[in-house]
Assembly symmetry: D3
Homo-oligomer: 190 residues x 6
Amino acid sequence: MPVTQITLLPGYAPDVRNRLVDRVSQAVRSVIDSPEAGTTTFVNEAATYRRDGRVFAQGRAAHPVASERVQAYLAAMENRDLPLAQTFLASDFVMCFPGGVRMQSLDELVQWARGRYRFVRKTTEAWDESWQGDVTVVHCHGTLAGEWLDGTPFEGIRYIDRFELLAGLIRRQDVWNDLGEHRARQAAAQ
Amino acid sequence: MPVTQITLLPGYAPDVRNRLVDRVSQAVRSVIDSPEAGTTTFVNEAATYRRDGRVFAQGRAAHPVASERVQAYLAAMENRDLPLAQTFLASDFVMCFPGGVRMQSLDELVQWARGRYRFVRKTTEAWDESWQGDVTVVHCHGTLAGEWLDGTPFEGIRYIDRFELLAGLIRRQDVWNDLGEHRARQAAAQ
Amino acid sequence: MPVTQITLLPGYAPDVRNRLVDRVSQAVRSVIDSPEAGTTTFVNEAATYRRDGRVFAQGRAAHPVASERVQAYLAAMENRDLPLAQTFLASDFVMCFPGGVRMQSLDELVQWARGRYRFVRKTTEAWDESWQGDVTVVHCHGTLAGEWLDGTPFEGIRYIDRFELLAGLIRRQDVWNDLGEHRARQAAAQ
Amino acid sequence: MPVTQITLLPGYAPDVRNRLVDRVSQAVRSVIDSPEAGTTTFVNEAATYRRDGRVFAQGRAAHPVASERVQAYLAAMENRDLPLAQTFLASDFVMCFPGGVRMQSLDELVQWARGRYRFVRKTTEAWDESWQGDVTVVHCHGTLAGEWLDGTPFEGIRYIDRFELLAGLIRRQDVWNDLGEHRARQAAAQ
Amino acid sequence: MPVTQITLLPGYAPDVRNRLVDRVSQAVRSVIDSPEAGTTTFVNEAATYRRDGRVFAQGRAAHPVASERVQAYLAAMENRDLPLAQTFLASDFVMCFPGGVRMQSLDELVQWARGRYRFVRKTTEAWDESWQGDVTVVHCHGTLAGEWLDGTPFEGIRYIDRFELLAGLIRRQDVWNDLGEHRARQAAAQ
Amino acid sequence: MPVTQITLLPGYAPDVRNRLVDRVSQAVRSVIDSPEAGTTTFVNEAATYRRDGRVFAQGRAAHPVASERVQAYLAAMENRDLPLAQTFLASDFVMCFPGGVRMQSLDELVQWARGRYRFVRKTTEAWDESWQGDVTVVHCHGTLAGEWLDGTPFEGIRYIDRFELLAGLIRRQDVWNDLGEHRARQAAAQ
């Protein structure tokens, strides 16, 4: 145990059903200390389904994978493809960067970053998705590499990002990293 | 749709079953764009259950709520109750603090913190749990308040913590915050 | 086939569950030409149930049996217990009697009947319930016996009543009978 | 709740399955005071089904919709298409008309009606189906319009018909209406 | 897979439910090459059950374990407790012993055996039950030990018995063994 | 009751599913004294299935019918087609014949049989399968006909065979028959 049966309307792609049984199994195992071997989850397709006085001809759409959306957004940012990056953002998007810098547009962000480093690239150690109903929260953390404004390279500087997604769009990004610690250490060393 | 039926052995406390239907519903809704009104999840109790050639007399234990474990650990740390805090940690516990400082014992941590501030308290804005099978990852973020070594108070400084829990014990803690940014700004201001 | 499984929260009385499996079996057999022997219906009690973002502690109330409500109302009317009869009626109750006479209160009805017969009693041949969602329609038909205003007895005069019930209360009553035919025949015979 | 799962053999047309989930939902809601939003009913198709020692290759036939059968019968009667009307009747068909007139053949009925009116047409306000296992009872009520034998038109005269159907055929029809009341009133007025 | 859910009325003893999930799992695994680890079977208790137009208040009785019945019968025979042994037999019991000797009563059997050996005891290597619907067939095989009529002991002589049980009673017993081979060998040796 | 639902991955042939519902029904009825009319078993096909941390693309293979395998093996032996007969045997095949003669190869058996009869043919009265998890035990019994070494024919001599099959291969055969009894009788008669 537990044995979990999910009844869906037909028409979902196999990878959506796979994602569903994976996530439901993980949710079950987060509550019950059941080994993988004892955790059974399957999808059943209903031929006809009625709720709320209506017969539904097909199921609701599947969401994109939130962490893949974030990954694509971050790649677009690293490539400075702001129009593409913008497509991942909700209209009420806000972000907060180290030092508590709050911004609302990617242009602002690019402007602000120009005062800090020439460029930066992320190496991500882990993606963590938190499923919270309408909202999915995605965290990624790892290290930053890039060049300071004076051209000095840096690497291995820890970072973490937190994203809130609603209906597949990022509506909030929060960023923490050790760049400040690093600069302080450099300053102290000089 | 979707309608999800979870079959358990009898004996779980109501709050465990409630947590189970909540989390499974959230996992389902993270994949399918189904409104709450159309998301049905229920628990069925099996009278007898057999798998792997054995009849099971009772279900596997329920896990504690990972974020509550982390919260209790952080409270113990703020209260400097290291023996209590230690009970939440796995034997192979590791932590990494701003600047990439890696430590393995709470004593080390206390020692290290003494060189940075007199005390610090967290105000948490959000707890995010990520259910990943054997491991649950907990993030909390918010702001720090406390006193610098010279007695100057500070507050509103952003932080985020990431915890990995296995079998109810914290085996890894990663911490990021803006203390470095803050000190740098202070230094620049002087 | 068909095999029908109804999942309820615990707490319903056995007679409610029996009524439920009876009616659901009848609904199934009204669509599929399945013999009773091949029609299986059972009730399963869920330990925990969540829909619309909430865990429900207990099931919704059971309705009274609509035809039993009507029967009690008709008995109260035959016994001239208007206060009791009134308790079965919705606040927007309307009725329509032979000749298209529309009334809204039991007092009106009693007044109107005084101009037609001394009293009347129903012998009911059949009760038919029609389950229509929020509304249940009840028909009863059979024969009337009683006394004309001049004291002449009558009996065996066909009648049918139609009742609409909402939330257990009668909101509409329509009456047809052969009293008019009968009087016409009597008149012709004289 | 309630969540109802109906398991059928494959091969039923979508409209049959839709009718099934509609009716079962209505039967459920006639017993439990559950809102439409909380009433879930779905059809599951079994790949293989065995009962009574036999594996069934396909499900039992679906019944026609009883009220549609009655409607077609009444239309044939209004159009004086007796051969067509006859096809809707069981071999032991009986009918009872106002005044308690019992007949067994449509010819009798036509003969009898010729002594009462030139023609009559029904305007139906409501169809009510009562699912009773082998038998389905259909009531329809509304008003009659037509011409008396002397050519005088009439309209708005209340009627109700009750039909018993077995295996898709009408085996009993009972008719009530206010024609008698109407003629009595006319006679009184003259 | 496969996941098998058996719905019963409440009231069965745990050992009956355990036997049920064991046997059903074995039946499943006799058809599908599924390992024990992947074979899940559980019992669900229905709160209310209706079939064939009736609501059943409790489930049908459980059968005794057929091989335990046979074992008790054989023990009674070895103990020469014929009245007890008789209680395990159906009224139309028949048996067939080596050489095709057909008998119908235990007295006949005892009489016949007296002409062959003083006594015999069975050591059973395996019990095999074959579930065939109304009938369960039990085979046991192993070795015989005992004394010939002249008092010479014997042992290790192979035997097999086949029993047919209906409604918990043995209606047929067929016996094969190597006593004939043994005697022939002895005769040849002399 | 009982109602048994078996959930499989799609892709099994209809005859496999039929065999499955037959055997599971028989296993159920071996425990519960339920008539065939009240024993319902059906197969449900899951669209997606996950256990042990993996999503399974297709179900495990179906076993051949054990008694059909034995029948084919016996036919090959009667036809002296040893290479074909060998294909039904596990590599660790052992057999035991009347008198306790243990052999491991078909050649040995043929050699041994040559000292007993010219040929023998089986007429089988019943096949009994016993489903025991990994192993299925098959018994067949009936009569032997053939010719003695001196050409004298015989017939109607009782026999029973017991076979153990693992993974579709026979790993053990035990044989009992009345040939010894018969020869003893013949010897006595001479």
